[in-house]
C-alpha cells in the first residue's frame, strides 16, 4: 500500500482561535482573497452548541481537482500529497468547482488558483506543516494516515460535510461534543 500523509484534527479540543489559519497565510504568503487553511464554524442555537473545525486541503485518495484540471497542474506525490504545479494553472477554476471542500481557491488578482501543499518544502526539510506547529492546543497532527488512524480513532465525515466516499479525504476528525452520538 502506498504511503499517504494526512491530518488528525481534534475538533473537540479546538476553540477556534484561528492561529492555524494565520500561520498558514504567514508561511505561504497568500493574498487576502486566499486562505489555504480555514476554520469552519458549526454552531447551533437549539440546542446551544459550539464547534470549530480547522480544515485545508485533505489530500484526498481520489482527488477530484486532479481529475478535472485541464492542464494537469495537479499531481499526487509519492507521499500522498496532492500538489499543484502553480505555473501550469490557467485560472479556469475547474478544481474550485470540483473540490467539495473548497480547498483550491481562486485569486482574482493573480488570475490563478492555489491550495495547501501540506507545506511540502517544510516536510522535505524534516519539519512539520506550519499549521501543526502553530496550533496552541496541539489540535492538528500531521503524519502517515495509517499511523494516525491507529493512534486516533475518529470520523472522516460529520453531518453537513461533503460525503467522504466521493474523494476519500485523508483526515481523521475527533468530533466536537455536539457531533458525538
Amino acid at each position: 500500500m502506498s504511503k499517504q500523509v494526512g491530518f488528525y484534527i481534534d475538533m473537540a479540543n479546538c476553540y477556534g482561535c484561528q492561529t492555524c489559519q494565520v500561520a498558514c497565510k504567514s508561511e505561504q504568503g497568500t493574498t487576502p482573497a486566499v486562505s489555504w487553511r480555514r476554520v469552519r464554524h458549526f454552531d447551533t442555537d437549539y440546542p446551544a452548541t459550539h464547534g470549530t473545525l480547522s480544515m485545508s486541503c485533505n489530500h484526498c485518495d481520489n482527488p477530484e481537482c486532479l481529475k478535472n484540471c485541464p492542464t494537469g497542474a495537479y499531481v499526487k506525490l509519492a507521499n500522498g500529497i496532492v500538489y499543484q504545479n502553480h505555473d501550469k494553472c490557467i485560472g479556469c477554476r475547474m478544481c474550485v468547482m470540483a473540490c467539495p471542500y473548497g480547498a483550491p481557491q481562486y485569486d482574482p488578482e493573480e488570475g490563478k488558483v492555489s491550495k495547501c501543499s501540506y507545506c511540502r518544502e517544510r516536510i522535505e526539510a524534516g519539519l512539520q506543516p506550519q499549521c501543526v506547529e502553530a496550533c496552541p492546543g496541539g489540535n492538528i497532527i500531521a503524519g502517515d494516515l495509517q499511523e494516525l488512524r491507529a493512534k486516533y480513532p475518529g470520523a472522516v465525515e460529520l453531518t453537513g460535510m461533503p460525503k467522504a466516499k466521493l474523494t476519500r479525504p485523508s483526515i481523521i476528525i475527533n468530533p466536537a461534543k455536539a457531533f458525538k452520538k
Partner: protein, 282 residues
C-alpha cells in the same frame, strides 16, 4: 453577477446554437431536398454561413472565463482525465468542420460534399455538446450531476437550431418546403416538452441534499426563471402553432427567435448561478 459566469453562458449557448443550425439544416434538407433551390435559397445559405461565426464567437468568449487567457492552450494538456480538456478539443474539431461547412455554403452551396460535411458536423457537434455537459456532471457537484444537465445542453441546440432554420425557410409555399417547416415546428414543440420534463427533473431534486435544494430554489425562485418561461417555452409554442397553421412569416419567427435566444441565455445563467452562488461549498 460573478456567479452568472457570463463567458461560459455565451460559450455554451452560442456553440450549441451553431451546432443546432447545422443539425436542423441537415434534417430540413433530408425532408425537403429542394430547400436549397427554393425561393429561400439566400436565407438558408445565410443560416449555413452563420454556423462558423456563432461557434467561433463562443470559443472566443470561453477564453475570457480564464484568469490567464493567453495560457488557454494549456487547457488541452490533460485529455486523459479532464472533461474540460476533451471539451476544448471537441470544440476545436467542431470549429474546423464549421469553417469548411460555412465556407462551402458561401462558395459552393450545391455541393454534395457540403451536405456530407453537414452530417459529420451535426454528429460531431452533438458529441461535443454531450462532452460539454459532462464537464459539469461531477459527482461532487450534486446540483449538476444528473441527466438534466446533459438534456438541457442538447435541448438548447435543438430549440435554437430548429427555430433559426424555421425563421429562414418559413413562408415558402412549395409543398416539400412546407413539409420541412412542419417537421421543424414539431421539433420545436418536442424541444419545449423536453425542457419542461428537464425542469420537472430539476425540481424533483428538492430535499435530496442541501446543495440540490439550493439549486432548485436558485432556479425556480429567481425572477429570471419566469422571463425564461415566457421567452423559451411560451413563445416557441405560439410560433410552432403559427408554423403548423401556415400563418407564420419570416419576420414573426425571427422576432420570436430573438426572444428564445434571450430566454436560453437566461436559462444558462440560472444553471451556473444556482450552483456557483453556493461557493464556498463547505
Amino acid at each position: 453577477m460573478e456567479a452568472w459566469e457570463l463567458p461560459l453562458v455565451l460559450f455554451t449557448v452560442l456553440g450549441q446554437w451553431g451546432i443546432g443550425i447545422a443539425l436542423m439544416i441537415t434534417i430540413a434538407e433530408s425532408v425537403a431536398p429542394s430547400i436549397v433551390d427554393s425561393a429561400n435559397r439566400q436565407n438558408i445559405r445565410f443560416g449555413g454561413m452563420m454556423v462558423l461565426p456563432l461557434i467561433a464567437l463562443g470559443l472566443l468568449f470561453s477564453v475570457f472565463h480564464l484568469g490567464t487567457p493567453f495560457a488557454a492552450y494549456k487547457a488541452l494538456f490533460n485529455l486523459g482525465t479532464s472533461m474540460l480538456s476533451l471539451e476544448i478539443l471537441a470544440f476545436i474539431i467542431v470549429s474546423a468542420l464549421a469553417l469548411v461547412y460555412s465556407y462551402m455554403w458561401w462558395k459552393n452551396p450545391d455541393s454534395g460534399l457540403r451536405r456530407t460535411i453537414g452530417i459529420v458536423l451535426s454528429v460531431v457537434g452533438i458529441i461535443a455538446i454531450v462532452i460539454s455537459s459532462k464537464v459539469y456532471t461531477m459527482p461532487t457537484r450534486l446540483g449538476w450531476d444528473s441527466w438534466e444537465t446533459i438534456a438541457a445542453f442538447l435541448l438548447t441546440a435543438v430549440l435554437l437550431g430548429a427555430t433559426t432554420v424555421a425563421a429562414l425557410v418559413v413562408g415558402n409555399k412549395a409543398t416539400d418546403v412546407m413539409k420541412a417547416n412542419k417537421v421543424l415546428a414539431v421539433i420545436i414543440l418536442l424541444a419545449v416538452v423536453g425542457i419542461v420534463v428537464t425542469l420537472a427533473g430539476i425540481s424533483s431534486m428538492y430535499g435530496q441534499s442541501a446543495e440540490q435544494s439550493a439549486v432548485v430554489i436558485g432556479t425556480f425562485a429567481n425572477g429570471m426563471f419566469f422571463v425564461r418561461l415566457l421567452l423559451s417555452l411560451m413563445i416557441p409554442v405560439i410560433m410552432a402553432a403559427y408554423i403548423l397553421s401556415n400563418k407564420a412569416t419570416n419576420n414573426l419567427v425571427t422576432l420570436g427567435l430573438g426572444g428564445i435566444v434571450v430566454g436560453e441565455l437566461l436559462g444558462r445563467v440560472l444553471f451556473y448561478s444556482s450552483t456557483m452562488s453556493q461557493y464556498p461549498w463547505f
